[in-house]
């Protein structure tokens, strides 16, 4: 059973069709990179996976559980699916330690001590142990994004979703975040990553999904995608960002 299975997902905003019959799947331990031009529906697609966006047609199964089924307990499902956003979205009024422990306590029912310990361990893992008592506004963008990854990991997720995790960062901070992600991938985390960092894709992705105008245009093994993308749109897109 795939970790994420997306079947003919379609979504409309009023008249406007954002997603058209999107079908793909992510196996356990697989890393897939989603790319495509701005406005092609990448964010929308990845947010459908944990039900942050609703879709009108098709279905998504996460570890066998249907996201589209109205009887599904979405909070419970989301608690097991880690998500990292473009703009970090740490909780600004909480310290880093609180950011890392609040959901463990309130959602998973862990004790405060247990949650704090787990949080600090993950903070150490992303190299930010010294920042535990600070607030998000006192950290750099790259540091905040590493905390955001640690926060998602604190819930012991079965898979991780990333929506352009480095595109709001200054160039010199991109690598510190990518390094954490590469390490995660190498440890076997199931990951769906929207990114234009093709270096990352080269290094750890198993497959690359290319989207255009709400459709999944290419869904290939990494080598096949970089070797010879079949669609003209993907070729243009690749040459544009690779020569950037």
């Amino acid at each position: 059973m795939p970790m994420i299975e997306m079947k003919n997902v379609s979504k409309w905003y009023g008249e406007f069709r954002v997603l058209t019959e999107c079908t793909t799947q992510v196996e356990k331990g697989e890393v897939i990179v989603v790319c495509g031009p701005s406005g092609s529906g990448k964010s929308t697609l990845i947010k459908c996976v944990n039900g942050l966006e609703l879709f009108q047609q098709g279905d998504i199964l996460v570890n066998g559980i249907s996201v589209g089924d109205t009887k599904t307990n979405l909070p419970k499902l989301r608690a097991r699916v880690g998500m990292v956003f473009q703009h970090f979205e740490l909780f600004p009024h909480m310290t880093i330690t609180e950011n890392l422990s609040i959901a463990q306590i309130k959602v998973l029912g862990r004790s405060k001590d247990e949650a704090t310990e787990r949080g600090l361990k993950l903070l150490e893992r992303v190299g930010l142990k010294e920042q535990a008592a600070k607030h998000p506004g006192q950290l750099s963008g790259g540091q905040q994004q590493r905390v955001a990854i640690a926060r998602a990991l604190s819930m012991d997720p079965i898979c991780m979703l990333f929506d352009e995790p480095t595109s709001a960062l200054d160039p010199e901070m991109i690598n510190e975040v990518l390094d954490v992600m590469v390490e995660l991938a190498q440890e076997g985390m199931t990951m769906m990553v929207v990114t234009h960092e093709m270096g990352f894709a080269h290094k750890v992705a198993h497959r690359v999904v290319f989207m255009d105008q709400g459709k999944i245009v290419e869904d290939d093994k990494k080598d096949a995608f970089f070797g010879s993308p079949r669609s003209e749109r993907a070729q243009q897109f690749l040459s544009k960002i690779l020569h950037h």
Partner: protein, 247 residues
């Protein structure tokens, strides 16, 4: 120009004789006693109305930002209703019309009606600020909360409201000061608060200047105290690393 005569406050309200020490004590009431009791009424009306306004305003503001259309509609209707009728008219409605329509309200003291009237009027304004505060956080924080597995109420409780309230402390401060000033409408339904005191005392004593100066001073002190208290709260709640926050 007439000379000032602050002794007026030491006069007994019935026989007009100056009472030594200015406080009436046993059975007698001086204008000073009356002034202070009027201040007490002003503060009671204001603070109780503020509690009503904060509770209902927060609730309605929150409803307006939920994904449920019915709740949004309810919050919007509430806000528009209480925002678009002049305050004085609302007070009269509570006093004359509402008890006639809802018989159980007939015996309710006018003090309570004024607290409700002023509270609901202000709740509409606070609802507006709470909505704006929550919406200023954009969708990102809401999604981040939900993505962690929080339910919608938990997302409000732990993620959205703590920041939204910090953001709207300045407008809430001026709303709280407004409520002190607006409480003067209570005189219209014969609550013996500062404005009613001023009207009656200046008539009885013909010392309008002293009376109004005293009343003005007390309004000023009350509003200023609220301002300071809110400033204290704002500083206590300041988030390190945020704009305007410490380091």
């Amino acid at each position: 120009m007439a000379t000032w005569d602050w002794q007026v406050f030491c006069k007994d309200t019935i026989d007009g004789k100056i009472v030594p020490g200015c406080f009436g004590g046993s059975g007698d009431t001086t204008y000073l006693d009356w002034l202070l009791s009027a201040w007490g009424w002003t503060l009671s009306v204001s603070l109780l109305a503020l509690l009503v306004a904060l509770a209902l305003g927060a609730l309605m503001g929150i409803l307006r930002t939920t994904p449920h259309r019915g709740l949004v509609l309810l919050g919007n209707a509430w806000t528009e209703l209480f925002r678009n009728i002049p305050l004085l008219v609302q007070i009269f409605l509570w006093y004359h019309v509402v008890p006639a329509l809802i018989p159980p309200l007939r015996g309710v003291p006018s003090f309570i009606l004024v607290v409700l009237g002023l509270g609901l009027f202000t709740s509409a304004r606070i609802s507006e600020q709470v909505r704006a505060g929550i919406q200023s956080l954009a969708g990102g924080q809401r999604m981040a909360g939900l993505a962690m597995g929080f339910t919608l109420p938990q997302t409000y409780r732990y993620v959205l409201l703590p920041m939204a309230f910090r953001i709207i402390i300045p407008p809430l401060t001026s709303e709280s000061m407004n409520i002190i000033k607006n409480s003067s409408v209570a005189f219209a339904v014969s609550i013996s608060e500062l404005t009613l005191f001023a009207l009656q005392a200046q008539e009885e004593t013909s010392r309008g200047i002293e009376v109004y100066l005293a009343v003005t001073g007390l309004y000023f002190i009350s509003a200023f105290a609220i301002n300071r208290a809110m400033l204290f709260v704002e500083n206590r709640m300041r988030v390190p690393g945020m704009i305007g926050g410490g380091t």
